[in-house]
Each structure stands twice: as structure tokens, then as C-alpha cells.
Amino acid sequence: MNKILILAEAKENTFKSNAFEAVSAGKHIAEALGTGIDVITITDAPAEQLTTLGKYGASKVYHLSLSELNSKGPAGIKYSHSAIAAAAANFANANGYEIIIISGTSFGKEIAPMISVKTDSAIITDCTGYTVNGGKISLKRPSYAGKCNTIVNYSSGKAVITLRPNVFKAEVSETTPEVEKITPDKVNISAADFKSCVTDVVVSSGKLDVAEADIIVSGGRGLRNPESFKLVEDLAAVLGAATGASRAVVDAGWRPHGEQVGQTGKTVSPSLYVACGISGAIQHLAGMSSSKFIVAINKDKDAPIFQVADYGIVGDVFEILPAMTEEIKKLKV
């Protein structure tokens, strides 16, 4: 079997944990299949950044410079999903990779379908687990908003797999990677590949986003008014956490949509999710039930959130949140 190709996403020239998770998971799958991994990355990250991928098991990194790639497209763009997908797919086709693994970030989700068509592969997205049996990979993925898990097999020889961020461990296995530069011409990129071009990226507030946070403190209608979200923010601040929200409070205009967790908001899998004054409606659970630890604070002991909680306190958020903030402050001094 051929080597597995991992596409490592660099955001603003640095690799985030999701790229390392993809390398690590790819390495495990490759070992089980009796093969190895190669990594491709399209970025202007400096050389010392590229070698950090080695810490997670990449021994070979193919590097395509983003600015060189962009020089083939219209002037003044930040990047082009379609051109990046074309470069990765052409590289995979030319070198016979059968499996391509990508982290399912907003970037990964955008390029994966294009790559799957260009490489004539099956696609299995948002995977949270895998098993390897007799040289075949089966993927586990949540569906119906996390209400059930499906095990998916693919019948075509090739597959593009995206991994739900934060689910797989980035395990250190020190290697020093060999970095090989590739050029846009080598992967046959022309102006026609720049079908969609990102001309600007607007950062909403500089705040940590729920989709990337390791700890999330979320508030719901139990907070009663927008002002009392200060209590949620204070706890988040001492934990270095992102703040999240239920749809009820987003719809009420108390919190921005970017904070909404759930079926019509974001899907998150942090290490710790603290739900404050949130009832735990099925659509909210859809977005957070794969969190590693869930803490619920709710004055109603029968609130459905307690059914998925690992820890919880039945009580008033207005008393418990300030007390938690103080207690955690004590740990930090």
C-alpha cells in the first residue's frame, strides 16, 4: 500500500494543534496499515515552523510556498481554496497517494470535497475514530447531530478523510523531517485554478473562538440578561477559556452568533465545557456532547444538561459562577 498524505494546515504561518493531530492520527493509521506518511503544507511559514511537524511523526514534509502559489493567480489575494485544493490533489495524483487526511477545520471542510473529486476518492468527513482491519480502514463519525454514530467503509480504492478537530491526540514522536520544496509548476497550477479567492480575513474580536478553545464557558437564558454574561466572561478569563452561548441568547441578541454552540452554531470538542444556565436542548447537545468533560450549573435538577454532565451543581448561576471564579483564582496564585 502506498503512503498516506497528510495535508497540514498552517494558519497565519503557524501550525496549530489540529495540524499536529492530523499528522499523529495519520501516523497511527499508517502503522496499522504497514505504511508511512508524507506531509504536504502550503504556507509561508519559516523553516523552523515546518520542522515542528516532525515532533508529531512527520519524517518528510513537502512544502509549497503560498506566495509562490499565489503568484499564479490574481494580484492581491490572501489565498485561494480552489488553488490550494488543486495543488494538493495534483500532488497526490502524481505520487499515487491513496489516502489523504485533513483536519476538519473551516479550511479543511472547504477544500476536502474539491480534493476528493479531483482525486476520484471517496470522502468521509468529521471522523472521530477509526479501526484498521485486514488492510481496510473503517471510520467512525457522528451523524444526526451527534445523536448516533455511524461506522463508514469505502469501496473505492482511495479516500479523503477529515478529522473532527480536538478529538485525536497530538502525540509527540520526535523525528527530524526532511523538507522538500515543491513549486506551483511541479503541481501544474495555472490561473484557471484560482476559482475562489479570499481577498480579506476579518477577525471578529481578537477573542478566542469556541471552535479552537480547549476550555469553553457557555451561558444560556438562565443568565437572565446580557449584562450578567460578565459572570461567564470572568470565569472564562481565569480559565483561559472561550465564551460560548446557547441559541436562545444569541437569538435574543445578547451574544454574537459566532459564540453559538449547537446544531445551527458551532460543533466543539474541548477538554472542558462548562454550561451555565443552559437547559441542554437536543440541538445544543448536538454541538458539545463530544466534549471530554462537561460541567453543568443549573437550578433545575431535572434539566437535560445533567444527563450528559460529568460534574454538576444544582444551584443558582449568580452564586456559583462568582464562587467558582474565586476558587480557581486561588489555584493560580
Binding site: 473503517s138 477573542k207 460534574y311 451543581i313 480557581i328
Partner: protein, 248 residues
């Protein structure tokens, strides 16, 4: 303008999912089906474009006879014509759906095509991008704002911690996210008018590349440690988070 919108019929989001006897799909008894909620944003955007620029909106679905319900909902919101690519079963994989949508769309050569950003049954978030790629068209998914200017489109796309401004030429494919617009509630007049709108049926081709081997309900977490003495439990909770869960 020739506008296409792709709509999927899915179980209502409040459905209690049970695994069916095959172990590979859900038990359909008692399930209520609705148009995929994100596809409502797609239909609304399509209809608003028609109202502004004139033209025609065609709603396409791949699925069983039942999927006509999604097309009818699009009719009530203002779509003009429907196409059902009719399959025997509802559990087609994403590639098959994309292939069938692409061939139906190709015949229409539309100026613009709308999808939802994700279906709430399989939750794949892939049909949109695959269909676009099969058609050789540009695509932007998770779109919260769209502006057209002649042959150019500028879309805002939601990403972690912000948004991207993405430019494409038309024809192009867009996947609608909440925030793009406010889907209308059909009024009596539009419901009456929808009854005479035609749905054409097209043959289906099975092209699947993936199989569901097994479906199961997530293991329940077991009972968590829930304290009932309010604020006095805070020190113990914090201790457990630190020493037992080791997350803070």
C-alpha cells in the same frame, strides 16, 4: 436569471433517533420529515434574487418520492419548478447525491446555484463542494452574506474567530449558513399557488463509494457527579476538575 437550489428532506431536528432493524439506518417509524433547515436559507436567497432580477428558481432534490415534500416547501417559499432525481432508498451516499445533482444541474446551465451548508441528517458538509467541483464551478460554503455585481460575486464566509471575504465569478455555487437572510413563512396565497407547480422526475444513477457498516447510539456517559447543595459544593467541584478530570 436562472437559479437552482438544492434541497434535502431530513428528519426533524427534535427526532429521537433509534437504529432500525438493519442496524445501518435509523428507524423511520414516527419520524417527521422537514426540509433541511439550512436549505431554507438557500431557497430564501434564491427567491430574493429572482424577485430582484427576474428569472426562475428550480428546486432539485435527490431521494425517494417523499423528498417531494422538500421541493414543495421550496415552492411555497417561491420556487417555480421542481426536479426529483428519484431513488428507491433514502440512504444514498454524498458522492452519489453530488453526481446526480451535477448531471441534473448541468442540463439547466444556471447562473447561480444555492445549497445549504450542511444537511442535518448525515451532517457531511460535502455535497455542496463536490457538486461544484463535478460541474467545474467555483464554490463558497458557510456563506453569511452575498453580493452580486454583474458577473462577480463577493461572499462572506464564516470561519473560526472571524470571516473571509471571498470573490468568485458567476456561475458559482454557494452554501448558505444561518445569518444569510431570514427565511419567509409561506402565506396562504403562496401555499395555494404552490399546488400547481410542476415536479419533473429524473432517473437516478447509483454511484456510491461509501457504505454505512453500522449505526449505533453513543454510549451514555453513566451518571455524572451532580451535587445538590449549591454554592457550598464549589470547592469540591473545582478540586475534582483539577485532581480527577485534570482539566484545569
Amino acid at each position: 436569471m436562472k437559479i437552482v437550489v438544492c434541497v434535502s428532506l431530513v428528519p426533524d431536528s427534535t427526532t429521537k433517533v433509534k437504529v432500525g432493524s438493519s442496524g445501518k439506518s435509523i428507524d423511520e417509524t414516527g419520524v417527521t420529515y422537514i426540509i433541511n433547515p439550512y436549505d431554507e436559507f438557500a431557497v430564501e436567497e434564491a427567491v430574493q434574487l429572482k424577485e430582484k432580477n427576474g428569472g426562475e428558481v428550480t428546486a432539485i432534490s435527490v431521494g425517494t418520492e417523499r423528498s417531494k415534500e422538500a421541493i414543495k416547501k421550496a415552492f411555497q417559499m417561491g420556487a417555480d419548478k421542481g426536479i426529483l432525481v428519484k431513488s428507491d432508498t433514502a440512504d444514498n451516499d454524498s458522492f452519489t447525491v453530488a453526481k446526480n445533482l451535477a448531471s441534473a444541474i448541468k442540463e439547466l446551465s444556471p447562473d447561480i446555484i444555492f445549497f445549504g451548508k450542511q444537511s442535518i441528517d448525515y451532517d457531511g458538509s460535502v455535497v455542496t463542494g463536490m457538486t461544484a467541483e463535478l460541474l467545474g464551478l467555483p464554490f463558497v460554503n458557510v456563506v453569511t452574506k452575498l453580493e452580486l455585481n454583474g458577473n462577480e460575486a463577493t461572499a462572506e464566509r464564516e470561519i473560526e474567530g472571524g470571516k473571509e471575504i471571498v470573490k468568485t465569478s458567476l456561475p458559482a455555487v454557494f452554501g448558505a449558513q444561518k445569518g444569510l437572510n431570514n427565511p419567509r413563512y409561506p402565506n396562504l396565497k403562496s401555499i395555494m399557488a404552490s399546488k400547481s407547480k410542476p415536479i419533473e422526475e429524473k432517473p437516478f444513477l447509483n454511484e456510491r463509494k461509501t457504505e454505512v457498516a453500522e449505526m449505533s447510539l453513543p454510549e451514555s456517559k453513566g451518571q455524572g457527579k451532580i451535587f445538590t447543595d449549591g454554592v457550598s459544593n464549589v470547592p469540591e467541584l473545582v478540586r475534582l476538575l483539577r485532581e480527577e478530570a485534570k482539566v484545569i
